[in-house]
């Protein structure tokens, strides 16, 4: 049996009477690159918010490497090894690109250790490696608010990489990107996923096809289908929830 890095057990989340997540069962294997798709309101972002501790589940459990994490504080969940990117790119606008990455860099999370910490050559080297990976070496000294939307997406992905998690949750990493930028991002994510587990939430099916081995389709807070790209694309129920189209590849 494969070992799971993340297990979602009978998860329910209701917000003022509306069920957002409805008895969801869901696993990610160690080292896997999983893509989560589904129409708006399927509960994809909510799932990330619950895993990372922003919301508490109404019912059910979340296990990370076999350990329960539901209801624990956000900073503890990060320290166990989960790091996430927001749906809307969220970077520190008035800090430089380099500074953004150095805040995210793994280590020195405590008040007193950070007071006396200076970025050493090793840390700077790690940041530069990430900068090269996300194509922002030339923007290192610029404040993040001067970046384009796509560059901000990359910066936040880079920050998540620098924070060095075991499981990375990327919420819509290619939104607002050109075709070329999207292709670059796909290559980047495949590269990242070689050394860690990644879950990507995405709408863009051509992007999904580029990166995915295994896709999970969420619909109304439940798992509608799970399988390879081919299986999902040929699944009639999936096609149905995507507005009656015959193939989900036609979905936006």
């Amino acid at each position: 049996m494969a070992s799971y890095i993340l297990e979602v057990r009978d998860l329910v989340n209701t917000v003022s009477g509306h069920t957002i997540i409805d008895h969801l069962e869901f696993d990610i294997e160690e080292g896997e690159l999983r893509v989560l798709v589904g129409p708006n309101g399927a509960g994809k972002t909510t799932l990330i918010e619950i895993i990372t501790g922003r919301y508490r589940p109404t019912q059910g459990q979340i296990l990370f490497q076999g350990q329960r994490i539901d209801g624990r504080p956000r900073h503890e969940i990060y320290r166990l090894g989960i790091s996430r990117k927001f749906q809307v790119p969220t970077v520190y606008d008035n800090l430089t690109v380099f500074e953004n990455l150095s805040v995210a860099l793994r280590g020195h999370r405590q008040v007193f250790s950070s007071l006396f910490y200076r970025i050493d050559a090793r840390g700077a080297g790690q940041i530069e490696a990430v900068l090269a990976q996300i194509n922002l070496l030339h923007r290192a000294k610029d404040e993040a608010y001067t970046l384009s939307h796509g560059e901000k997406q990359w910066l936040e992905i880079g920050m998540v990489v620098a924070s060095d998690p075991r499981l990375m949750l990327l919420d819509e990493p290619t939104t607002g990107m050109t075709r070329e930028e999207t292709d670059k991002t796909a290559r980047l994510i495949r590269e990242i996923a070689r050394t860690r587990s990644v879950m990507v939430v995405e709408h863009d099916m051509s992007f999904v096809r580029q990166i995915a081995n295994r896709i999970t389709v969420l619909h109304q807070g439940q798992k509608l289908a799970e399988g390879s790209v081919r299986e999902i694309e040929n699944n009639p129920r999936v096609a149905e929830v995507y507005l009656g189209r015959t193939k989900i590849s036609a979905a936006p």
Binding site: T52, R54, P73, R74, H75, Y78, R79, S83, R84, F86, Q87, V88, T90, V91, Y92, D93, N94, L95, E99, N100, S102, V103, A104, H108, R109, Q110, V111, S114, L115, F116, Y117, R118, I119, H138, R139, K141, D142, E143, Y145, T146, M159, S163
Partner: protein
């Protein structure tokens, strides 16, 4: 380089310090006393810049800690003064106590008779108060406008307490006539030295890795939480340090001014402090020198010239600066310098991107 300043900037800072240190020789006693008081306001502004400019906590109650430190020192000096000048106050206790029917200094107030106890006790008490207040507020994730309202309420409560318990605080009239260190050049230098030390300390804090984390909290605290920072701890720490800085400033202020009242602990001074920092430039530290010295200086000079109109001029100055320089004076200059440098190095885009204001609340 010292406190992360470049050679050029360090030279500039040293020139300013030398000019301030030499001021008693050409400024005269009156202006020296004024400048000493302004330097106390500079320290208050520095502490506000740490919590607001760098961490994004808008506190409308920072005067509580300034006033608290001031009351500890004023009370101590007053007790001493009354005891050693019994001819003036027959019973050897402060006048306001006598007027309110006390016949002797309450036992719990006796330790304050020694300034060497009272001054540090005031600073520690204010640190403890800030710690408790910060713990309650920040651990409960109260931020933005709600935090501003709570700190404002804190300030109002303490002002009311000071007015209410007049037998022990001097009430509405405050504490007066306790002797002071005005026209004392040595004391002026002590104030200057403490100001320089606080500037150095604030530079140390804000240029450290810790300081960058503070700024990340200002920019988006939710983002920082998901990167594993226990944001509340950072806020509590910086809030407590800032409160102790304010308390020291208040103590020096009381000793120099020779009179202290509920206004020094209430919302008025708290809000004035916020204005100084806004005018000088948030998150710059240098702005905390420019803001209070410019505004209090202008207030003083204008009020000497114009009987009642001066308030209008000062108000107009606020509006002009806030409208045309939303980053404050120093903030705007620094932003322009950064842009020039970026252009020179060929990094900046051809257009000027919209200025991004630090969010008070997380956006996502």
């Amino acid at each position: 380089m010292i406190a992360g300043l470049s050679r050029k900037h360090l030279f500039f800072v040293l020139v300013v310090i030398a000019a301030l240190a030499a001021f008693p020789y050409f400024g005269g006693d009156f202006r020296m006393n004024q400048l000493g008081l302004f330097l106390c306001f500079v320290m208050l502004a520095l502490s506000l810049d740490l919590i607001w400019g760098f961490t994004g906590i808008l506190s409308l109650g920072n005067a509580v800690y300034f006033g608290g430190g001031a009351y500890f020192v004023a009370m101590s000096l007053k007790l001493k003064y009354a005891a050693t000048n019994p001819a003036r106050y027959g019973s050897g206790i402060p006048d306001f106590m006598e007027w309110n029917g006390l016949t002797e200094v309450p036992v719990w107030m006796r330790p304050l008779e020694s300034i060497w106890f009272a001054a540090p006790a005031g600073v520690l008490a204010m640190g403890l108060l800030a710690f408790v207040f910060g713990f309650i507020t920040f651990k409960r994730h109260i931020y933005g406008v709600y935090c501003a309202v709570i700190t404002l309420a804190e300030s109002v409560i303490f002002e009311e307490l000071i007015i209410e318990f007049q037998a022990y605080t001097g009430g509405f009239n405050g504490i007066t006539d306790y002797g002071s260190f005005s026209s004392n050049t040595t004391f002026y230098w002590i104030i200057l030295a403490v100001t320089v030390f606080f500037f150095w300390l604030a530079r140390k804090i804000t240029t450290s890795h810790f300081g960058m984390i503070l700024q990340s909290i200002r920019e988006n605290e939710l983002r920082s939480e998901f990167f594993g920072f226990e944001v509340a701890n950072y806020k509590i720490f910086v809030f407590t340090v800032a409160a102790m800085m304010s308390a020291v400033a208040g103590g020096l202020y009381a000793a120099l001014n020779g009179i202290i009242s509920h206004q020094e602990i209430g919302p008025l001074l708290s809000i004035e402090g916020v204005i100084w920092v806004a005018v000088g430039g948030r998150g710059t530290l240098i702005g905390s020198f420019v803001g209070p010295i410019l505004i209090k200086g202008a207030e003083s000079l204008l009020s000497e010239q114009f009987a009642w109109m001066w308030g209008l001029f000062v108000g107009l100055m606020f509006i002009v600066i806030v409208v045309f320089m939303p980053d404050g004076i120093v903030g705007t200059l620094l932003r322009r310098a950064r842009r020039r440098r970026a252009l020179a190095e060929g990094r900046a885009p051809a257009y000027e991107p919209a200025v991004v204001q630090a969010e008070e609340t997380p956006t996502v």
